[in-house]
Amino acid sequence: MSLFEGRDLVCLRGGRAVFSGLSFGLPAGGAMLLTGPNGSGKSSLLRLLAGLIRPAGGELLWDGAPVLGALDEHRERVAFLGHLDAVKPVLTLRENLAFWAGLGGAASARIEAALARFSLTDLAEVPARLLSAGQKRRLALARLPLTAAPLWLLDEPTVGLDRASATALAEAIAAHRAQGGRVIVATHQVLELAEAQTLSLGDYPGEGVLLEYVW
């Protein structure tokens, strides 16, 4: 069975263990919600799963194959949405999306579909500097379905979104999962995800493992 798996993951940031002994398994089409108080390592875990930072211990497996030995390969599976929107203010919305689509070799039809999904079609020719914070977030979200990346990693995707946009996001996630895609979301807000597992980072405290891993 195909599984995106983490075993006994440990994450060190600045010499301090953020979490330790963290394990999970996410099947194709699955969704996972990351919860936990501020500073419990939700963002760190997402960056770790994206391959931006390396775990200090434990292993990551994609369909049984180790991820950490082939990080370049893994990074191409990932569509990542961080705290920052990566929007260029002087480019129009369509140009912003066209760049990321061109980089990933995606067809231009996907750009129109992505704009439509997040109700940005009317704004397509507007320079992104004129957008509100919520609209910028929608533009960042519209980047996700551009490529066929099977793993979506979303860090607080609903920040600044109105109710209709949050629904559009839930629909986009559902469509992605219907095609066998996986989603991992870190959020404080309520996001309607059918049959989602929940991983509470508060259950994997980092304290106490510091010395063991530093020495």
Partner: protein
């Protein structure tokens, strides 16, 4: 290849939409070069003598001034981590950004250089050599600068740090760039100096992308 050109194209488009940034570099170049005669006096022979050196040094300073922007904007708005996750190897990302940087700073400086040469009463016969030496030398400055620009990401006051990191590395380019023009002025043949500049370009083209890419990966960690 398409992805690479997409990145170059986006950076050029960004520079084109923010023309003031590129124009400022050229204006800085012309102004600083124009200020020297006020300091050393308007004696034509002296100006013709120091002309090549002044042009090269001010061009170098102008490039340094523009380096901070190379990766910083992408780093601050989150584009850089997406580029790291993207399909392009980081070394190629660096090369694309360096090419766009050179096209928007090095090339305009070369276009402006004849104006300064005229100002300094430089022998027109040496002008082709001056432009050729800049054509070979300024890309080296962009390449070396990219390493510095990558290393300062995440540091406070990075813009001040870049010259400290990059300036010492650029001295050979300065020496051979000026020597080429001086040789042409003395009818000694500038070819060896230009060949050395060409060698520097090839060496930095081969080595700096790896260094800068490592710095960028470190920055997004």
């Amino acid at each position: 290849m398409t992805a690479w050109l997409t990145l170059v194209g986006r950076d050029l488009r960004l520079a084109l939409r923010q023309q003031a940034d590129a124009a400022m570099i050229v204006v800085f170049f012309v102004l600083t070069a124009g200020i020297f005669p006020f300091g050393v006096g308007p004696e034509p022979n002296l100006l013709a003598r120091i002309g090549p050196g002044v042009i090269w040094v001010t061009a170098l300073l102008a490039v340094l001034l523009s380096l901070e922007r190379v990766f910083l904007v992408d780093y601050e708005d989150g584009s850089l981590e997406l580029l790291v996750l993207g399909p392009l190897p980081m070394e190629l990302v660096v090369l694309a950004k360096v090419l766009a940087h050179w096209l928007t700073t090095g090339l305009p400086l070369i276009v402006a250089a004849p104006v300064i040469a005229l100002l300094y009463n430089l022998d027109p016969a040496a002008l082709p050599v001056l432009l050729l030496s800049m054509l070979l030398g300024t890309p080296v400055l962009s390449l070396l600068g990219a390493v510095g620009a990558g290393l300062i990401l995440g540091a406070r006051r990075g813009g001040v740090l870049i010259p400290l990191l990059v300036l010492p590395l650029t001295i050979p380019v300065l020496i051979f760039g000026v020597a080429a023009v001086d040789a042409a002025l003395a009818d000694l043949g500038a070819r060896p100096y230009l060949l050395i500049l060409g060698a520097m370009l090839l060496a930095s083209l081969a080595l700096t992308p790896w260094a800068a890419a490592a710095a960028l990966r470190q920055a997004v960690e």
